[in-house]
């Protein structure tokens, strides 16, 4: 009888052990599934896409506002006001507050983002096949000196210089040097006036014919237009032509706006200042 009791106790203990084992395994499995789901759900946070989208639509709105206002600042501000109000209503339905401030624009520097502190050495446009129009209007009162001249250079894919223009201000005289490939430099000395409009493709300064700048309107190869020391000189720039493969382009840098965009939700809040070149690239 005693031996039968021992066997029953052993079976009972074995049953308990099996039960505890099952519970442990189930809990562990459940935790693994829970943890993996938590990690993947974190990537579903879409606020970063909303912010990027808001920056893009705001940039387009500023550029359109400038284009359609025809230089009338009041119309420009009204456009931005309408856009800002409608964007606020739109983002409110997605759980965001949206606010724009500082709409004013100013003359840009020849930097990547148009601000004085922007990148001075950068590429204006790449893969240029032909250039139809190229105007540079430097502000001669905000211009680099001989040791920090503004340089605009057309460079082939292989890195060789096809055309280079260097300009700087020396005591009220604007010195312009043009170098085509490795030929002898040609010089122009112009009395500083503002605005000073240089028609590079039309070989004119302020509407008056000057000796050719020899700009490669249609080089035998694609090229990029690079700018160096852009942070020393302010001014406007317009260029149009065709890219490879046969895609027309127009870049216009008349002014730069630097609005601050603020977006907030229950989980995050972000302030972002966005330099916007006006009227930017237009078709």
């Amino acid at each position: 009888m005693k031996k039968i009791d021992d066997s029953a106790q052993l079976l009972l203990i074995a049953g308990f052990a099996v039960g505890v084992g099952i519970v442990v395994i189930t809990v562990m499995l459940s935790n693994v599934i829970y943890a993996s789901n938590m990690a993947s759900e974190s990537s579903i946070d879409t606020s970063r896409y909303d912010i990027a989208n808001a920056i893009q639509t705001t940039t387009e709105a500023y550029q359109d506002a400038y284009i359609y206002s025809n230089g009338t600042y009041g119309d420009y501000e009204d456009y931005i006001g309408s856009y800002s109000m409608k964007a606020s209503q739109n983002y409110a339905t997605a759980g965001f507050t949206f606010h724009l401030q500082n709409h004013k624009y100013s003359q840009p520097y020849f930097t990547g983002n148009g601000l004085a502190g922007g990148k001075g050495n950068w590429t204006l446009v790449s893969n240029v096949n032909t250039t139809e129009m190229f105007y540079i209007t430097p502000n001669t009162s905000i211009m680099g000196n001989e040791s920090n001249p503004l340089i605009i250079e057309a460079v082939s894919h292989s890195g060789s210089s096809l055309w280079l223009m260097r300009m700087y201000n020396t005591s009220g005289t604007i010195n312009i040097t043009v170098i085509v490939s490795s030929s002898t430099p040609s010089y122009r000395n112009v009395t500083a006036v503002t605005p000073m409009e240089i028609n590079v493709t039309g070989n004119q300064i302020n509407g008056n014919n000057v000796p050719s700048f020899n700009y490669p309107l249609s080089a035998s190869q694609d090229y990029s237009i690079n700018i160096y020391n852009g942070n020393t000189t302010a001014g406007m720039c317009t260029i149009s032509g065709n890219l490879t493969p046969d895609q027309p382009f127009t870049l216009m840098r008349h002014y730069v706006a630097n609005p601050t965009l603020r977006m907030s939700s229950g989980q995050m809040s972000i302030n972002r200042t966005v330099p916007i070149l006006l009227p930017g690239g237009i078709a």
């Binding site: 031996k3 066997s7 052993l10 079976l11 074995a14 049953g15 052990a17 099996v18 084992g21 099952i22 395994i25 189930t26 499995l29 459940s30 599934i33 829970y34 993996s36 789901n37 993947s40 759900e41 990537s43 579903i44 879409t46 896409y49 989208n53 808001a54 893009q56 639509t57 387009e60 709105a61 359109d64 506002a65 284009i67 359609y68 206002s69 119309d75 009204d78 456009y79 006001g81 309408s82 856009y83 409608k86 964007a87 209503q89 739109n90 339905t93 997605a94 446009v125 890219l243 895609q247 382009f249 127009t250 870049l251 930017g280 690239g281 237009i282 078709a283």
Partner: protein, 201 residues
Amino acid sequence: MLLKIEKETHAQMHTLEAIMASLIMVAIIVYTVQATSLTPLTSSTANAHIEAQLQTMGQDMLNALSYSAYGHDPDLKTDILNWDGKQYVWNGTAYSTIKSPIYELQSSSLARTLEFIAVKRGIAHNVYFSWMDEEGVTASRRYIYNGDPSNNAVVISKRVQLSNGDVGNVTDFETRTGIPDADNSTDFYNIVNVKMALWRM
């Protein structure tokens, strides 16, 4: 001799018990794993991976269509401007209207992208255009509609800013699409929210 037979019986019992215990454990584990298995249509926190994949895929599609180089209009904006206000459905070979199946959606970058990416992967999709009128009242219309989304569907959205210059003939555009001019006093037209719902078939 009798003692030896009794010990053998105990050993057999223990062996049998061990076998039974391991069987029960294996059965429970199999049951547990089966109970939490993932299928594309499993509507629970367990299919969050699939939802995240669809979300990323949809965002990539809309981001690519929103890109424009050197001032050209993004493809997404062009699709809105070219929209004739009709609702399209995928009929197996093309996007066509329900009323007139031979009338197919033309020159739509969004439709072309969905055909190459979503249709080939067996991902069902709807696209809606929504906007607000001057009073701030929201309205929405279907651009592509393939049925009611499942519980696992994800929605990706992208806002597009339109000006009067983009739209051209304002009256004609509003009549055609139903998207109104949100401010008649300026050249700002409206903001259109492109919403794309994706789900596994």
